[in-house]
């Protein structure tokens, strides 16, 4: 047990009910990793450090004031809200982080470095907010993600960026909407720091067909390079549909993928570049990969007991199945909330089907 356990925690050992401490993303990744899924190794920085760094020295008061302004005036008073938010963002970027906090972060980062046998290993630093109510729409995409972060100093900067993103206009708008449903909603930021997958291809997978709600299918979308181009919705990805039971690949739409996100190692940054022509027209996933992804996504769905929205990436430097990483999984929200079976395919069939079924149910013996 690390003495810094209340500030940072390895994903591989984080406890089951850790959402308030490491946020929804952290909890989910910890669960997946501990269930044996291939999730990039990493650690979470807890909400305790956030509170310690931001909510002391007047920060808590500022935050309360911001929320009150937001609630009282909402989007009708953008200026006061913007000013209050800006102040908090500034606080996030400049506030002192405790020595034990910095040490804790450094210790874990160096451990990652040792494991990978790499100096300043590139990591993904992702916000993991501890305010996501399970049943309502998540704050997906509202908070900061920093990709290809190298070095301790840059890591700390990235942490601050994530904290600051709590107060972006978009995040606050979501916060407002969510508080109206649940006035006691907490608002704190955990952070997940993981080894960065140098993705040759990446994207999303749904464990049902988002178009029809069919739960026997896995729908996969992907592009070359990092998954950010797909998740952002700015590139039309390749689209595939695989049946979970027969493992038949039933749909295959190869898109013209003009853009892709790649890592510029020299500049330590992620660039959006024009795809080479041949690549733009080529499917980013082969059959083996589609089937492996289907199997893994189905396994995740079984783990959670409900349809999932999964982010995946294929490591350039490895071969299947070791190349397939799960970067995130969260409950699908649109279809899972539907309470009833949709009506029959035609009124005639509905009528006949119900009659015949009741006849058989009522009377058939044995």
């Amino acid at each position: 047990m690390s003495e810094h356990d209340h500030l940072t925690v390895w994903l591989e050992t984080a406890e089951a009910e850790s959402l308030p401490r490491i946020g929804g993303k952290g909890q989910s990744l910890a669960r997946l990793l501990q269930a044996g899924l291939r999730v990039p190794a990493g650690f979470a920085i807890t909400t305790r450090l956030y509170e310690q760094s931001l909510l002391t020295g007047g920060g808590e008061v500022e935050l309360a004031a911001l929320f009150k302004t937001l609630l009282d005036h909402g989007s009708a008073a953008p200026e006061p809200v913007r000013l209050a938010a800006a102040a908090l963002q500034q606080r996030a970027k400049t506030t002192a982080i405790s020595a034990s906090g910095l040490q804790s972060i450094a210790l874990h980062y160096r451990e990652l470095s040792a494991r990978r046998r790499q100096v300043d290993p590139p990591v993904a630093v992702r916000s993991s907010a501890a305010c996501e109510d399970k049943s309502s729409a998540s704050f997906a995409g509202q908070f900061e993600t920093c990709l290809w972060v190298r070095g301790e100093a840059q890591l700390v900067d990235a942490v601050r960026s994530c904290w600051a993103s709590l107060f972006s206009p978009r995040a606050l708008a979501y916060r407002l909407a969510a508080t109206r449903k649940d006035p006691h909603l907490g608002y704190a930021m955990g952070i997940v720091v993981q080894e960065m997958v140098d993705a040759g291809a990446a994207g999303v997978a749904f464990t049902l067909n988002p178009k029809s709600g069919d739960r026997s299918k896995v729908v996969i979308e992907g592009n070359w390079g990092l998954g950010s181009s797909v998740v952002s919705g700015e590139v039309t990805p390749d689209h595939f549909m695989v049946d979970k039971v027969t493992l038949g690949i039933e749909a295959r739409r190869v898109a013209h993928k003009a853009l892709q996100d790649v890592v510029d190692e020299a500049a330590n940054t992620v660039l959006r570049i024009a795809a080479p022509t041949a690549q733009a027209a080529a499917p980013c996933l082969g059959d083996d990969e589609l089937l492996e992804l289907t199997r893994v996504a189905t396994r995740i769905e079984r783990l959670y007991g409900c349809p999932q929205d999964v982010e995946w990436a294929l490591d350039r430097a490895a071969a299947l199945p070791h190349s397939l990483y799960i970067l995130q999984s969260r409950p699908e929200t649109r279809w899972s909330q539907r309470p009833t079976v949709p009506p029959a395919t035609t009124p005639t069939m509905g009528y006949l089907g119900a009659m015949v079924a009741s006849l058989s149910g009522r009377k058939v013996k044995g």
């Binding site: 067909n209 029809s212 709600g213 069919d214 739960r215 026997s216 299918k217 549909m241 049946d243 979970k244 039971v245 027969t246 038949g248 690949i249 039933e250 079976v341 949709p342 009506p343 029959a344 395919t345 035609t346 005639t348 069939m349 509905g350 009528y351 006949l352 089907g353 009659m355 015949v356 079924a357 006849l359 058989s360 149910g361 009522r362 009377k363 058939v364 013996k365």
Partner: protein, 623 residues
């Protein structure tokens, strides 16, 4: 949406050179000016699945018998609430059918009360009724077999006097004909006794699967329902057993030699092992060789027992496969296990206990009732009809003996109401005495020639896929399930096919998966089946279970008509033969020798290259 429409049945022109064709069919089987208002406002589609060829006049008894039996069960016996029967018409020799439904909610409600009681009774007592059915039907077959077609002797046999019979062979001949006809009609009455309900149970399960899993592949549903051990596969299994016995008795070389049956049997009789094999062969024949090579609904569909060259050809294929070390048995355990796996896994994907329970209930009903749907065909269209067509040939032979026809097959050029008159003509002349002329020999041979010509012209005509106004949507369940006719298919029919310079593409239902490429062999007449070469892609109106033994020869099959529950689809899945059914016009668009690409995962067929020269199917004998 195009302005294209299907022709009005009253605007369909007769085929040139077929004047007077109407007299070849019973009057009520034709479109009629008196019923025009009713007829031209209905949607009629060409039933290529059951009657892909022009109807021989006599053969229309099968169309009519199912017209009545299917319809009465839906409309008058079980009163399936929203449905009524299916009407038939014949145009230029081809059968068109129209499904009727009930619109009035009050009438539907009234029918529902009857349906609940009656369908309920059958579902409740299904197993015992099915057992009874088989006994009844074997009785019908037995009765048909026992009907004697007497010849007309110079002197009546003595028993007429010594037994005090009081009736002559002439009378018995007339009575025999009536008996045979009623027997055929009765066979079809029984055919549909349990079929409509069994299809309804299937539809109920199918529909639930589509509700719960909107993207589910219909092939998968059919796989979940299919029985592993179905009677229709017995003939092929018997061939397999005979092939294995041949190897065991070291008769492989003899049985793969391409000699005529009589010569083969003579050679076999010369040895003890040969005699042993022959005995097994004789045993297998009845009833398993009473398998039609077509639907059984036309007299031209030769059954294995009528031409032993067919099963012997299949036997040769199997012996050769065994000699190569191939496994010829259908893996029943594997098929059943896979089916059970699909069922369990789909069920597990349902999100609630209620849905899982309903799935289970509907599935249990279909498993219980579907064997009837799979098995009835062998009893009726294969076993019974093989005997029926041959019985009618006996009447044909009698008429040949009396100079009415030159060939006993000529009887099939006349519909069933025309035959009694001929028989009475024969009997009256015979009754008066030797040398007394009947009128028939002066009249009928000419008429046979005329009708033969008309039939030939019918064969050159391409029947439009449908007639009459396009319905807004196809809702009658059997139309969709069995014939594979959906609103999408109807729209596709209305879209003209691509011109010769484009790569024509056909779409159909993927009945069994696989992607292959190969040369096409278009077969519209079953007699040409033996022109099929190894590795070709069969293109035909519809395939039937008796074609199964050739499946090992071909790479894929493409059909004009058929739904997921059609026989073509069922056998294709069982034999893992990539098959696309229901393309609508494969046999019209594709020519023998065309290079085809068949994606049976998605139901797409493309003509990659045209045959360089039209290749006429060689009319070789079965070898």
């Amino acid at each position: 949406m195009t302005d294209a429409k299907f022709p009005n049945p009253f605007e369909v022109k007769a085929v040139s050179g077929t004047q007077g064709w109407e007299r070849m069919y019973p009057y009520y089987h034709l479109f009629s000016s008196e019923r025009r208002q009713y007829e031209e406002n209905r949607f009629w589609f060409f039933d290529a699945m059951h009657h892909p060829e022009p109807m021989y006049p006599f053969d229309t008894i099968t169309a009519e018998a199912w017209w009545v039996a299917l319809s009465q069960n839906t409309s008058r016996i079980f009163a399936i609430p929203p449905a009524l029967g299916i009407a038939h018409r014949i145009v230029n020799g081809y059968v068109y059918i129209s499904a009727h439904g009930v619109e009035d909610p009050q009438q539907i409600a009234e029918r529902a009360a009857y349906f609940e009681k009656r369908a309920g009774y059958y579902f409740e007592h299904w197993d015992e009724l099915y057992a009874k059915w088989e006994i009844k039907f074997r009785g019908v077959i037995g009765e048909l077999k026992s009907i004697e077609v007497p010849r007309l002797p110079a002197y009546e046999p003595e028993e007429v006097v010594t037994e005090g019979r009081g009736i002559s062979s002439g009378y018995r001949l007339l009575a025999a004909y009536e008996q045979v006809i009623l027997n055929m009609y009765q066979a079809w009455q029984y055919h549909f006794e349990m079929l409509n309900l069994s299809y309804l149970a299937y539809l109920t399960f199918f529909d639930f699967c589509k509700q719960a899993f909107p993207d589910i592949n219909p092939q998968t549903i059919a796989k979940m329902v299919a029985g592993a051990d179905v009677i229709l596969f017995r003939p092929e299994e018997e061939i397999g057993r005979l092939a294995e016995l041949a190897i065991e008795l070291q008769l492989g070389e003899l049985l793969t030699s391409d000699v005529a049956p009589e010569e083969l049997f003579a050679k076999l009789r010369q040895s003890e092992s040969g005699g042993k094999w022959l005995q097994a062969f004789e045993t297998a024949k009845d009833p398993w060789f009473y398998l039609s090579s077509g639907t059984g609904m036309a007299h031209t569909h030769t059954s294995w027992i009528d031409d032993l060259r067919i099963p012997l050809a299949h036997l040769r294929t199997y012996v050769r496969r065994l000699q190569k070390g191939e496994d010829i048995k259908r893996p029943l355990a594997k098929i059943a296990a896979e089916r059970d796996r699909l069922v369990a896994e789909y069920q597990a994907l349902l999100p609630s206990d209620e849905q899982r329970a309903e799935f289970q209930q509907r599935y249990a009903l279909v498993r219980r009732t579907y064997p009837y749907a799979e098995n009835h065909m062998f009893f009726v269209e294969h076993w019974h009809h093989t005997i029926f067509w041959n019985k009618i040939r006996e009447f044909g032979q009698l008429l040949v003996d009396h100079g009415f026809f030159q060939d006993k097959e000529d009887i099939f050029y006349f519909h069933r109401f025309e035959i009694p008159a001929m028989l009475y003509d024969v009997v009256t002349a015979w009754a008066v005495g030797p040398g007394v002329p009947a009128q028939g020999p002066y009249v009928w041979p000419k008429e046979v020639a005329r009708r033969r010509e008309v039939m030939e012209r019918f064969r050159q005509w391409t029947p439009p896929p449908a007639l009459g106004p396009t319905p807004d949507s196809i809702t009658e369940p059997f139309t969709i399930m069995l014939w594979g006719i959906t609103s999408e298919r109807v729209k596709a029919w209305l879209t003209p096919p691509a011109g010769p310079t484009e790569t024509p593409e056909l779409r159909g239902l993927p009945a069994a998966p696989g992607v292959v490429q190969g040369p096409a062999r278009v077969i519209t007449n079953l007699k040409d089946l033996d022109t099929l070469q190894e590795g070709e892609i069969l293109v035909c109106p519809i395939t039937t279970p008796s074609w199964v033994p050739i499946f090992s020869k071909i790479k894929a099959a493409v059909t004009d008509v058929g739904g997921m529950t059609s026989h073509a689809a069922i056998v294709a899945r069982e034999y893992d033969l990539p098959t696309v059914v229901g393309t609508g016009m494969a046999t019209t668009l594709i020519k023998t020798g065309d290079l085809l690409w068949v994606d049976a995962d998605h139901g797409v067929v493309r003509i990659l290259a045209r045959a360089s020269a039209p290749s006429a199917p060689a009319a070789t004998k079965v070898s």
